[in-house]
């Protein structure tokens, strides 16, 4: 990508064909400028792009729902579907997921695959904090720990490489230690998940409802075991 005739050294916008449609890669810079520039570029090729499906790589941009939602509407006006947003920022990924867009396009982006954990650090020691209610349809995949302050409703899912901590009601699907970590735990103030997985073990909540109390779940001899949280 060293030379781009039209835009010289550092292209602001690159367009590539991929299996699922077009991939647009944005350069670095102010979001508003890039956004305007992108629409300008698209309008210049309006005929060619009409009806296209676009995946957008926004690099390190941290984008909120208004930003992505607005862009999606503007693209829709031009009869272009924005189906995926690829980003290095977990915030942007979350925004895209909440808006129902994909955040991965297989095959094309080898540079975005997480580097394998080096021997020195334990896999996924990073954590992400979600301070909100996770509603049906919400999905997060994170290689480290996931901490939620709020409820995880039925139909929401959390897939974490590390532990999952829910300061609220856990009713959705959670998978801790998703990359095979048998020492991962799940804990919640009120534990009634639709399904709970740790590493390769899958369990369901018992049918009868107990009194809500904080519980911690871990693997003991290969089985999923929930115990009341009992601080000494």
């Amino acid at each position: 990508m060293e030379s781009n005739i039209e835009l010289a050294v550092k292209p602001k916008v690159q367009i590539k064909g991929i299996g699922e449609g077009l991939l647009i890669i944005l350069g670095e810079g102010n979001w508003q400028d890039l956004h305007d520039f992108l629409l300008e570029q698209i309008d210049q090729q309006a005929e060619f792009l009409r009806g296209a499906r676009i995946a957008l790589d926004v690099g390190n941009q941290v984008l909120k729902a208004v930003d992505l939602g607005q862009l999606r509407s503007q693209l829709l006006d031009r009869e272009i579907t924005l189906w995926a947003v690829i980003s290095n920022s977990p915030t942007t990924e979350q925004t895209a997921q909440t808006l129902g867009m994909a955040t991965r396009i297989e095959k094309v982006k080898p540079e975005h695959v997480e580097p394998p954990a080096s021997g020195a650090t334990h896999m996924g020691e990073q954590a992400i904090l979600l301070h909100r209610t996770l509603r049906s349809g919400f999905s997060i995949h994170f290689p480290g720990h996931v901490v939620v302050i709020g409820d995880v409703n039925p139909g929401a899912e959390i897939i974490a490489g590390g532990n999952i901590i829910v300061w609220g009601r856990l009713r959705g699907m959670v998978h801790a230690g998703a990359e095979g970590n048998n020492n991962a735990i799940v804990c919640a103030l009120d534990l009634m998940p639709t399904q709970l997985r740790i590493a390769n073990q899958i369990s369901m909540s018992p049918k009868e409802r107990k009194k809500a109390l904080p519980e911690i779940v871990r693997l003991l001899n290969g089985e999923v075991v929930a115990e009341p949280w009992n601080p000494k």
Binding site: G69, L76, D77, G100, R135, G137, D151, N153
Partner: protein, 267 residues
């Protein structure tokens, strides 16, 4: 003051979006407010039928957006309430005929002339929903007290928050107090515990709604119907009045539950 845009949506179909739109529109118009109801369910229109205005349609929403008519021509005046208007959906097109910014532009034009713009959203979370939600000031999510409807309402509330159109207001429709009392139906408490949003109204199941819908006469115009009373109260709450929630049944025990709801819902 420019008019407010209220979108009535649900995710799941058949929970009462169209009935609620027609009744809230009629209730607001009966109070002398100038109201337009927009049917955003392009391809499956039926707000016109519920309002009994089907035979007056000449132009529709898509004609208006594509510039084949002026807004005055697409607005159908209700036959009973002179302040109530309808913009019907096109029946021969589909949701892709309209974009979210078309809807925003249209509503911005209507704000000057109307006090309230009510949008009847189609079921689903796709283009039609996004069209309906784009211009909204107040999103009203309708659910029934059943698990599948509540699950979809949860999803919709999440999408509304993601589009920064929140916080959504919740309307629980078709409650059967007897079944709730026997523990056979989710109670409003159960629904609110899961969805954690502000309640704007609870409407009991009422057979009069079915007959009035078939006749094309909104049930709010029926002074005796309980559902009609509930919708009239919701119209007042939309305007910012503090109206206590109706007891769903006069039997003792239930009232206590409702008064508890008023405290949780009324913040």
């Amino acid at each position: 003051m420019p008019g407010k845009v209220v979108t009535i949506t649900s995710g799941k179909g058949g929970v009462g979006k169209t009935t609620a739109t027609a009744n809230l529109g009629a209730a607001l118009a009966a109070e002398g407010k100038k109201v337009v109801c927009i049917d955003a369910d392009i391809g499956l229109r039926n707000l016109d039928v519920v309002l009994g205005l089907e035979n007056r349609i000449v132009y529709d929403l898509v004609d208006l957006i594509e510039g084949r008519c002026r807004s005055r021509q697409a607005l159908i005046r209700d036959k009973r309430l002179p302040e109530l208007f309808l913009i019907p959906a096109a029946q021969t097109r589909d949701k892709s005929a309209v974009s979210p910014s078309d809807m925003t532009r249209l509503c911005d034009d209507l704000r000057g002339e109307f006090d309230w713009i009510l949008i009847d959203s189609p079921a689903g979370i796709e283009r039609g929903f996004r069209n309906a939600i784009a211009p909204t000031d107040i999103a009203v999510v309708i659910t029934n007290p059943e698990v599948a409807a509540v699950r979809d309402a949860d999803r919709i509330i999440g999408l509304i928050e993601a589009e920064e159109k929140g916080p959504a207001r919740l309307l629980i429709n078709r409650i059967k107090p007897g079944m709730v009392k026997r523990g056979e139906m989710l109670s409003p408490d159960d629904v609110l515990e899961l969805l954690a949003v502000e309640l704007i109204g609870m409407v009991p199941e009422d057979e009069v709604v079915i007959t009035s819908t078939n006749r094309g006469t909104p049930v709010v115009l029926d002074g005796k119907s309980k559902a009609g009373q509930a919708f009239r109260n919701i119209a007042k709450r939309l305007q910012g009045e503090k109206i206590p929630f109706l007891p769903l049944e006069e039997e003792s025990g239930f009232f206590g539950k409702i008064s508890k709801l008023i405290r949780t819902g009324g913040n």
